[in-house]
């Protein structure tokens, strides 16, 4: 019989909430995590607002030793370790230190960069002939797989320990990769998720491309406007999301809390052919990714209760809605509910897929649809495609059975994953 994969733990470090309870409260109540960023203003960015998680010294010391925090300067690893360990703890998995690693548990924890601030600090030292004074942790903090390496050591993981990287689909892709690893019988448990560094050195490239909004520097909470006619670019964000994927038998044997079942999904690329480029999606591939996810999971499109979109608040939001509608063959009142977490947290880049997937699973588990904020003025191309009631602006309490989450990224890459209420 085909194995089944369930989610037994969640962890989150988001701009609007650190820890599952805070985050659940924030998404239910439409609480924004977007704030004015003094450093971006000083550096004369066009966009001077951002989504940055608040990490207190007390939280840091809870997850890292004093020695690890010496000369530590990697927000990506900081967020990823906190989210990853929260998920592990939430799943009721042990922290004791044994002689042997846990051969059945691994991690695929994605990132776009690692320790970009540490990298900058090091480059200044190197150019100042101070290479010998770098210390021993520059490699661990700046290698892309730093986050999975830190987690692997803290949790004693003995299965695959790796980091995937595929722009803004990274987090969603990590779930699919962990799912595959369990389905193929190679692991019982996979900690999956992704993280993104914070700060000017990660966000500058987007600011230079003029894809971030410059119109809300004095109204940060209004800045991230997915699906709105007045959307003027995304707000850069950061953070990390994590989940424990577990083979059903193992979860049942441990009597673990089961948040939801992962039915699988699909990841593909538009090959930067047709209308696809490095930065623009090939709609044929986007639709194929969604349809192949349904095919893989054996679902009909009318079984979907909620879509958690990519929807970044750029001019491409309308195209995304049109693609969803075409892929599912559903429009107007027939279209499922849809929301975008980015109105509350901005675009968390390599972390977006996992932060948003954690939100999707929470909505499924607790039976609610989180409100979209800042889209009171829906884009006319969107309201011409789907009924405006399908984009809730207020919290809806509703039993959900199927939630589908998609992410799209630079390089013309797509990923789509399907979550089902566990029965």
């Amino acid at each position: 019989m085909k194995k089944r994969v369930v989610i037994t733990g969640l962890g989150i470090v988001a701009p609007n909430g650190v820890g599952i309870d805070n985050f659940t409260n924030a998404i239910k109540n439409g609480i924004s995590g977007i704030t004015h960023d003094a450093e971006l203003e000083r550096l004369q960015f066009s966009c001077q607002i951002a989504g940055k998680p608040t990490i207190t010294e007390a939280i840091k010391q809870q997850y890292f030793t004093e020695l690890e925090l010496r000369n530590f300067n990697s927000t990506g690893i900081l967020y990823g370790v906190i989210a990853g360990m929260e998920a592990w703890k939430d799943a009721g998995l042990p922290f004791e230190i044994n002689e042997n690693p846990d051969w059945d548990s691994g991690t695929i924890f994605g990132s776009g960069t690692s320790g970009i601030e540490k990298f900058r600090e090091s480059i200044y030292k190197i150019d100042d002939f101070q290479t010998r004074r770098l210390g021993s942790t520059v490699v661990a903090q700046t290698m892309n797989s730093g986050v999975s390496a830190y987690l692997g050591g803290k949790l004693g993981l003995g299965n695959q320990v790796s980091t995937n990287s595929s722009a803004c689909i990274t987090g969603t892709e990590s779930i699919l990769m962990g799912y595959d690893r369990i389905i193929s019988g190679q692991a019982k448990r996979m900690l999956v998720g992704s993280t993104s560094d914070s700060g000017p050195y990660i966000w500058a490239g987007f600011d230079a491309m003029k894809v971030c909004t410059f119109k809300h520097n004095h109204s940060p909470e209004k800045g991230s406007r997915p699906m709105s006619a007045s959307a003027s670019g995304f707000v850069p964000g950061s953070g990390a999301g994590a989940m424990i994927l577990e083979e059903l038998e193992s979860a049942l044997a441990r009597k673990a809390t089961i948040y939801a079942e992962v039915l699988g999904g699909n990841s593909n690329s538009g090959g930067q052919r047709g209308e696809g480029t490095m930065t623009a999606p090939n709609s044929v591939a986007v639709q194929k990714c969604i349809q192949d996810s349904l095919k893989f999971t054996g679902l009909q499109s009318n079984e979907i209760d909620l879509i958690n979109g990519h929807l970044t608040a750029t001019s491409k939001d309308s195209l995304e809605i049109i693609n969803w509608s075409a892929a599912l063959g559903l429009s107007n009142e027939k279209f499922p509910y849809i929301n975008s977490l980015k109105s509350l947290v901005g675009h968390c880049l390599s972390a977006s897929g996992s932060v948003e997937s954690v939100a999707a699973v929470l909505q499924l588990k607790h039976g609610f649809i989180a409100p979209n904020i800042n889209c009171e003025d829906l884009h006319p191309e969107i309201s011409a495609t789907i009924d405006s009631s399908k984009i809730p602006k207020k919290l809806i309490h509703k039993e959900l059975n199927i939630v589908i989450k998609a992410s799209f990224g630079f390089g013309d890459v797509n990923a789509c994953v399907v979550f089902k209420k566990f029965k």
């Binding site: 004093e66 020695l67 210390g135 021993s136 942790t137």
Partner: protein
């Protein structure tokens, strides 16, 4: 600075890196950084950077290689301090 004072300063420097408290409490000239104090070998360069800072000396690569226990480290610190 006499030897006891140097050892005292050295103890403060290595303290954050040690994994064996008992060996640290009984630190003597024969204490080995890796085998006794269980300092992660990658951290030895951090220990040496901290020593440079605390004693305001510069330790060359050749000396660095020898600094695996308290005795040899003391000798190198004393030499470098005398050169100042």
């Amino acid at each position: 600075m006499n030897k006891l004072e140097i050892i005292d300063q050295l103890k403060t420097v290595v303290k954050p890196y040690i994994k064996n408290q008992e060996a640290f409490d009984n630190l003597s000239e024969t204490t080995d950084f890796i085998n006794d104090l269980k300092i992660n070998s990658a951290n030895l360069v951090d220990v040496i950077l901290d020593i440079e800072e605390v004693f305001d000396i510069v330790i060359d690569n050749a000396s660095m290689e020898k600094m695996l226990d308290v005795k040899s480290t003391l000798a190198i610190i004393e030499t470098k301090l005398a050169e100042k």
